[in-house]
C-alpha cells in the first residue's frame, strides 16, 4: 500500500546516493517537483534513466547529481540542445557523466521487460546503426522458429521510479490520463516508486485513456500541485513553452545556471519531516515560470 507522505519525506525515504532512478513522463507530467527535491537533498552518484532527458535532467546533471545517464533522446524539445547535458558529456562539468544510449524503442522495451520480470525482450531495432557494439544491455538473439536475428535488450529494474500523476485517492491509488508514455512500465519495473500528484481526491473517477496504478504497487504518494511545471498536466495546466525557450539562455552559461538553480530550486527547501500532505510541497508548483 502506498504511504501518503510529504515530498521531502518521500525522497528522503526512497532515493539514496548511488541509486538507479527513473523519472519518467513523455513531455507530459514530467516530475519536476520531485526532481527538484532530489537536487535539494543533494543526492549524488545517481544513475539517471529517462527516454527523453530534457530540462529536469539538464538541471540534475548540472547540479552534480548524476554519474551515469541511460537515455534515448536528450534535447530541449522544439528548442535545441541541453547545455548542461552537453557540458557534462563534452567537458565533464561539473563531473564526468557516462552514458548508455538507446533508441526510444530499445529503452522502452528495457522497461517493459523489467515490468514483466523477464530478463530480456526481443525487438526489431538498432540493426546497422553505430549504437551496436557501443551500447550496453544490447545483444542479438535468434528466433527459435524462423532463425531470424533480432535485437534483444536487457530488462531494466530501477531502484526507484518517480512519476507525476493528476490524482490519487486517499488509499494511494493513482490515476493519470492524457499522454502516458512509459510511466506505468517504469513504476512496475522499479523496486520502489514515488508518485507525486496534483491532488488527492476521495474517489478516482474513471477517465478515458487513464492509467491506474493500484496503491499496492506504489511505495509512496506525495501531494505536489503544479509538480509537473514547466511541463504540463492535462486537465490542470498547460506547458510553459516560453520557459522551455528561456531555458536555452539560462542553461548555456555555468554561472547563470547555478544562480538560477540557487534562486529557484535550492532556496525552496521542503524540510524533511516538517511538512504534511496538503501544504508542505505545494510550493513546488509554478517554479521556473
Amino acid at each position: 500500500m502506498a504511504a501518503l507522505m510529504s515530498l521531502a519525506e518521500a525522497v528522503a525515504d526512497l532515493v539514496h546516493d548511488g541509486d538507479t532512478v527513473a523519472m519518467e513522463g513523455f513531455t507530459h507530467l514530467i516530475p519536476f517537483a520531485a526532481g527538484h527535491e532530489v537536487i535539494r537533498q543533494r543526492r549524488r552518484d545517481l544513475t539517471l534513466v529517462r527516454l527523453t532527458p530534457d530540462l529536469l535532467y539538464d538541471q540534475l546533471i548540472g547540479m552534480g547529481c548524476c554519474a551515469k545517464l541511460v537515455f534515448s533522446w536528450g534535447g530541449n524539445p522544439g528548442v535545441g540542445s541541453l547545455h548542461r547535458f552537453r557540458d557534462a558529456v563534452e567537458r565533464g562539468w561539473p563531473n564526468p557523466v557516462t552514458i548508455e544510449e538507446h533508441t526510444h524503442a530499445g529503452l522502452t522495451m528495457r522497461y517493459v521487460a523489467g515490468a514483466q520480470d523477464l530478463p530480456f525482450l526481443p525487438l526489431r531495432a538498432y540493426a546497422g546503426t553505430d549504437l551496436v557494439g557501443r551500447t550496453a544491455n544490447l545483444a542479438t538473439i535468434r528466433c527459435p522458429f524462423t532463425g531470424e536475428e533480432l535485437a534483444a535488450v536487457a530488462a531494466l529494474r530501477p531502484d526507484v521510479a518517480i512519476v507525476h500523476a493528476q490524482q490519487a485517492d486517499r488509499r494511494g491509488n493513482v490515476q493519470l490520463w492524457g499522454i502516458s508514455g512509459v510511466q506505468k512500465e517504469a513504476v512496475l519495473a522499479a523496486r520502489r516508486s514515488l508518485v507525486t500528484v496534483e491532488e488527492v481526491v476521495d474517489r478516482l473517477e474513471p477517465r478515458p485513456g487513464a492509467v491506474v496504478l493500484p496503491s499496492w504497487v506504489v511505495s509512496a504518494v506525495a501531494l505536489a500541485p503544479g509538480g509537473a511545471a514547466p511541463s504540463y498536466a492535462a486537465g490542470y495546466y498547460e506547458r510553459d513553452n516560453a520557459f522551455y525557450e528561456a531555458w536555452d539562455a539560462i542553461s548555456r552559461d555555468r554561472d547563470r545556471f547555478a544562480a538560477w538553480m540557487a534562486e529557484h530550486v535550492l532556496r525552496a527547501p521542503a524540510t524533511v519531516g516538517e511538512s504534511t500532505v496538503g501544504d508542505g510541497v505545494a510550493r513546488n508548483g509554478g517554479e521556473g515560470r
Binding site: F26, T27, H28, T52, F71, S72, W73, G74, G75, P77, G78, S81, L82, F85, R86, V89, E90, E101, H102, T103, H104, A105, T108, M109, Y111, V112, L123, R124, A125, Y126, A127, G128, T129, D130, L131, R134, E148, E149, L150, G178, I179, S180, G181, V182, K184, E185, G209, V211, S231, Y232, A234, Y237, E238, R239, D240, N241, A242, Y244, E245, R289
Partner: protein, 270 residues
C-alpha cells in the same frame, strides 16, 4: 530556419517566400491524402499539418508520444503537446506505439531530420566528432532508427551544406541504404528506406540500382553548381533535372497561418 527570400520572376505566384518555406511546402506535397504518417516535431510536423490543411485532409498523423490520428489546430512545439492527445482518435502508451504500430509496419511515411546525411541517406543525429570525445553532442537516436527501419517509406528533411551533406558520417544513427544495394535486406529492415530527401536547395531520390542519392529537382532560383558546392561528395544528378513548382499563394497562406498560431501558442501557453 530562415533564409533569403526568393522573389518569383513573375511567371508564378507573386508572393515571395523563403527557402525554408519551399522545403516545407515540398514536404507537404509529398504526402498523399490518407497516408499514415509518423511525425516528429519541428519541420516535419509543420509539413504534415500543412498537407492536412491543403490537399490531404485525411492524412493520419501518428506521433511517437502515442497519439494516433491527431488533428492539432496549432503545430505542436513538443510531441507530447496536450492538443495532440485531445484531438487524437486514440492515445496509446509509448511501448505500444513502438511495437504494435511502428515495428509492425503500419506506418506509410516516416519523417526524419538529421545533423548529417551521406550519399546512401544514412543519418547522424548522435554526435559530431568522436563518440567518446564529442565535439558536439547531439540529442541522439530517439525514435529515428526504428522509423528509418520500419516505415514503408521515409522522407528526410535537411538543409544542404558541407556540414550536413558529408562524405562520411561521424556516427550512423539511422540506416538509409547502409553501404549500398542489398544492405537493408541483409540487416532485416522491412521498410522501404528513404525515398525522398528534401533540402532547401532541391529534392534528391535514391537511384533504384545503386541506392545512391540523385539530385532530381532544383527549387526555383537554385543553380546546379551551388548544390554541387554544398554537397560533400561527388553528387549524382538526374538526366532530366526538373524545377520545383514554387509555393502557391494558398500554400504560403496556410503555412504562415500555421506558423503564426505556433508562435502565438508558444507565448501564451500559460
Amino acid at each position: 530556419m530562415t533564409g533569403a527570400e526568393v522573389h518569383p520572376d513573375g511567371a508564378g505566384p507573386a508572393t515571395p517566400y523563403s527557402p525554408t518555406e519551399m522545403m516545407t511546402v515540398a514536404a507537404a506535397r509529398a504526402l498523399a491524402d490518407g497516408t499514415v504518417c509518423f511525425v516528429g516535431i519541428g519541420a516535419p510536423s509543420l509539413a504534415a499539418n500543412l498537407a492536412r490543411r491543403t490537399h490531404a485532409p485525411d492524412l493520419v498523423l501518428v506521433y511517437e508520444s502515442g497519439t494516433i490520428g491527431a488533428k492539432p489546430s496549432v503545430p505542436p512545439l513538443s510531441i507530447g503537446d496536450g492538443e495532440l492527445a485531445e484531438t487524437a482518435d486514440t492515445v496509446v502508451s509509448v511501448p505500444e506505439i513502438f511495437t504494435y504500430w511502428l515495428q509492425a509496419g503500419r506506418i506509410d511515411v516516416g519523417f526524419l531530420g538529421a545533423a548529417q546525411i551521406d550519399r546512401f541517406a544514412n543519418l547522424n543525429s548522435t554526435v559530431i566528432g568522436p563518440y567518446d570525445r564529442p565535439q558536439v553532442r547531439l540529442p541522439g537516436a530517439g525514435g529515428a532508427p526504428e522509423i528509418a527501419a520500419a516505415c514503408r517509406s521515409v522522407i528526410v528533411l535537411i538543409r544542404q551544406n558541407l556540414r550536413t551533406f558529408v562524405d562520411r558520417l561521424d556516427f550512423r544513427t539511422s540506416v538509409g541504404f547502409g553501404d549500398g544495394p542489398g544492405h537493408r535486406e541483409r540487416l532485416g529492415l522491412r521498410g522501404g528506406g528513404p525515398q525522398l530527401v528534401i533540402t532547401d536547395l532541391g529534392i534528391l531520390r535514391p537511384d533504384p540500382a545503386t541506392c545512391e542519392l540523385v539530385l532530381c529537382q532544383l527549387h526555383p532560383g537554385v543553380q546546379l553548381d551551388e548544390v554541387r558546392a554544398r554537397t560533400g561528395w561527388d553528387l549524382a544528378v538526374a538526366d532530366e533535372l526538373t524545377v520545383s513548382e514554387p509555393p502557391s499563394d494558398a500554400e504560403l497562406a496556410a503555412l504562415r497561418a500555421l506558423q503564426r498560431r505556433e508562435a502565438k501558442g508558444s507565448l501564451t501557453s500559460d
